[in-house]
Amino acid sequence: MSQDFRLESVGLINRDKKLSFKFNGKKYFGYEGDTLASALLANGVHLVGRSFKYHRPRGFFGAGVDEPYAIVQLYRNNETEPNIKATEQELFEGLEAKSVNCWPSVNFDIGAINNFLKIFLPAGFYYKTFMWPKSFWYRIYEPFIRKAAGLGVASTKHDKERYEHKYEYCDLLIAGSGPSGLSSAYAAAKNGAKVILAEDKPRFGGSLLTDDVNIGNQSGKDWAEGIITELKTMPNVVVKNRSQIFGYYDHNMLVMSEKVSDHLPKTKKYHPNKRLWYIRAKEVLISSGSIERPIVFGNNDTPGVMLSSAAKEYLKVYGVLVGKNPLIFTNNDSGYETAIEFQKHGVKPVILDSRKNPESEIIDEAKSLGINIKNSYVVVAAQGYKKVKSADIASISDDKKQLGKIENIKCDCICVSGFWTPSIHLASQSGNKTKFKEEIDAFVPGVSKQQETTLGAANGVFSLEETLQTSFAKGSEISKKITKNDNEVSIPNVVEKKSSQHDKFWCVPLPAGKHYKRFLDFQNDVAVSDIEIALREGYRSIEHVKRYTTLGMATDQGKTSNLNGLQLVSEIENKVVPAVGHTTFRPPYTPISIGAIVGREVGKHSKPTRKSPIHAWHEKNNAVFVDAGVWLRPRYYKRGNENLFEGSKREAKNVRTNVGVCDVTTLGKIDIKGPDAAELLNRVYTNAWLKLPVGKARYGVMLREDGIVMDDGTTTRISENHYHMTTTTAQAANVLSHLEYYLQLVWPELNVNVVSTTEQWAGAAIAGPKSRNVLQKLFPNLDVSNEGLPFMGYMEGDLFGVKARIFRISFSGELAYEVNVESDNGNFMWEKIMEVGEEFKIQPYGTEALSTLRIEMGHVAGSELDGRTIPYDNALEGLVSKKKDFIGKRSLQRVAFTADDRQRVVGVVPLDKKTSIPEGSHLVKDANAPLPNPKLGHISASCWSVEYDNPFSLAILKDGKNMIGKKLFVMSPLKNKVIPVEIVSSHYVDPKGERVRS
């Protein structure tokens, strides 16, 4: 298909590179440098989608970020992305896009019946209709609304694209590369400031690309190009296109989304799709420009109705005529500029100006070109369904209330200009309280809240000369403060045509007897009548009106609708606009893909993975790994076809009968040094620590101040003032912070230093009746007998030339040792243990066997120390000193903590000795009691006892002390299980603890 609406040799596109693309399955051609929108318009395609609520045909309204409704579903490299603005999507070879919000097609859309039922779909329709009956909500209303709503479909596939995050610091961050952004960036850069200049479009220059102005004796566009070229050569300047600063957060942190690859058919190897920049700027200059405001009239959403600035941009940047018979409807001089461009390119526009007798240089030029201008004239309504075919126009009285006789004139597009709205979103997000500027009928930034300055059109300054002067000055002034440099930059002279005062007129009255929809918010289908209803129903606050009608919501954030909505409310309410106020602008300014926000933190990269130095050995020996916090630990070592249950049972059994070895590197380790180390431990742990001899270890429990157990572990006195503390894997970081808190803030007088040594030591637990034999082989020169190295003893040794620490401590309840060597020697140690242990039938065991062993011994761990239990609950009250004070002791006097029937850890055995008990099940007295069945306790940990070959669980049970021998029921509604059980002692195996001391 030929590009009937493309002008020859006009625009900034690359005509040497023709690109093919598909829209709704049909093939078209465009050029490199086109957007999807400009390429479609070049092909005469105006119908892109259907509107959100009424499914009315929708076309293009803007030419960039201002676009409220030309939203498509994009297909690129076998991926799909919803919510893409056709006006922002650059064309690439093979691009495919489809219309959204229509079925079966954009040309014939069943949902358009809503348009004829619109009398039934007024503001608040959803609130009013779907409230009753309540039972209908989940089954009927919600599925219906979900299907009807939304502007595209998210892919359900894993996103193969990569997204990156980048952190950056700069002196000046400048948002927008229009005349103001370029001037201030240039001035600041010349003073040596570190500058980041961000432009959301592919091309730099903003309005200079389309405006007929002259700066320093060149065209605005050429001047912009020169400045950008120079800025790019400066080492202190980062210039970024396709980069949207979308959010202004606390302490001058701004976030920018850089589209790295969206303009390419496929992301280049090693490149991200998007890069999210977190920029901390000393100063921010907001040069985000302004967006043209529509004038509201009947059927103003018909495809072919668009902003006059957009029509001008399509013409000047892309060489595309949005129509060949254009009607310009304006209340200011901007419409004339668009008309002049049309006229210059051989198309004869008609201008309707709501003003009676405006005079300016621009108007004079239009007149001299012979353009047909009708003053005091307005468009009453656009005519045509899928495309504008004609317009009903009429003259309007001076008070803008009375329409003259309605005439119909042929046209194929209506370019509308209702003056300009500064883009104050970023300033508003920064906390800046905006103020209303009467001369331009719009809000502008007020007093700065953070280090931000708004310049140029975003600040309501529409004169190029003034913009350049203030922007150069601000750029110099701010950068001078930071860099102390003062390099003068001469401000170029500007030639621009003077314009006349705009007309405050913004909405065409309805002619008698007509009920045209006059849209305010094109994205959300909010019409004048909807706001009228909301106000009639008593909504007053603009924030409430917004939520009730959806005006200014969603991805558009009211870019084109905000001010007209406020005008309407102010007129009905008989208030001035500033008294109505505007709603809060929220980030993001434009839709940002979730992938960009998530960055690289997906899948296994969503958290760090820590591996022990013995990890490679585990992998080689068929370890099945499990996440233990951020660590990967072997769960069991798979032999043949073994499953988890079989493998862990074998490993645990081997510990009980022979000897096993477990990688305990992940345990938290804290080195404690200083003359007051014993005193610190004595205050932190519940038991006594002042008399622990050198070369001995002790088990300790520490509490939070609220009396709840925080962690447990052993601490060993290595030498007089040197202790080695172990913590659980999960609590390691918290315990270190806890100790630091008390040392730095509460007891700074204690002369102690603490430091984490978790990474420095690799640890192996050697457990089982034959563990001493293994240890003796590892350290042939040491006396490791029961006398030489008694239970809770410590010694240092030489492990085949490697320095080792040997602790006689046990988690498994068997005779056991823990050997630590420096991490780099971890694998060496492990292989030596396996080597010398072979004759004793040593097997490695994983966390599952480790759990089995500790559960049947009744050793409490994380599942009992769950942040809800006190020492008594864990049968640890024997470790609570009555004599000394310690962290959390006072809380143990709380009434609930001393109650006679306080919960306590117990053992649970199924009566049939066969049925496994699901963890998390509840214990109840009567399985058939009416619901809610009173819960007596819960199963905290379950295992298959290898000692007795039957299931065994630990539970935290109310009045557990007096429940031993009682029969209860375990209930698991989740697993649909009811199991009769007997309560037994938590110390199921070796209750006297003889093995560890043997």
């Binding site: 952190y167 957060y249 606390d250 302490h251 001058n252 942190m253 977190y278 901390r280 906390g431 205050r683 101040e705 609220d706 912070s737 630091e740 808190y741 730095q744 803030l745 509460v746 700074p748 000394k884 004070d885 310690f886 006072r890 809380s891 006097q893």
Partner: protein, 89 residues
């Protein structure tokens, strides 16, 4: 994201810190008789005020020092930061 001046390291982003609550709370001395009410006030009761608040932060991914930060809880403005042993107010 806040930008916090660690008195030991300088300006650092919030992600390097962890929050530690009200800095004006004083732990009762060890081995001292204390009423239930006083203990509850220490463990549980906080003002949760709007406005200027002296709070603890730990520079957990930096120097690991606990510091005091004077911050407005409504606007996030940070007025001053102090070392753990520095007198405040």
């Amino acid at each position: 994201m806040l930008y916090i001046k660690c008195p030991h390291c300088g300006m650092r982003p919030q992600i390097e810190f962890s929050y530690g609550g009200d800095a004006s709370v004083k732990r009762p001395e060890l081995n001292k008789e204390i009423s239930d009410q006083e203990w509850d006030d220490f463990v549980y009761n906080r003002k949760s005020l709007r406005g200027k608040h002296l709070e603890l932060w730990q520079h957990i991914s930096g120097c690991r020092q606990w510091i005091k930060v004077e911050r407005d809880t409504a606007t996030h403005e940070i007025f001053n930061t102090f070392k753990a042993d520095e007198g405040v107010v």
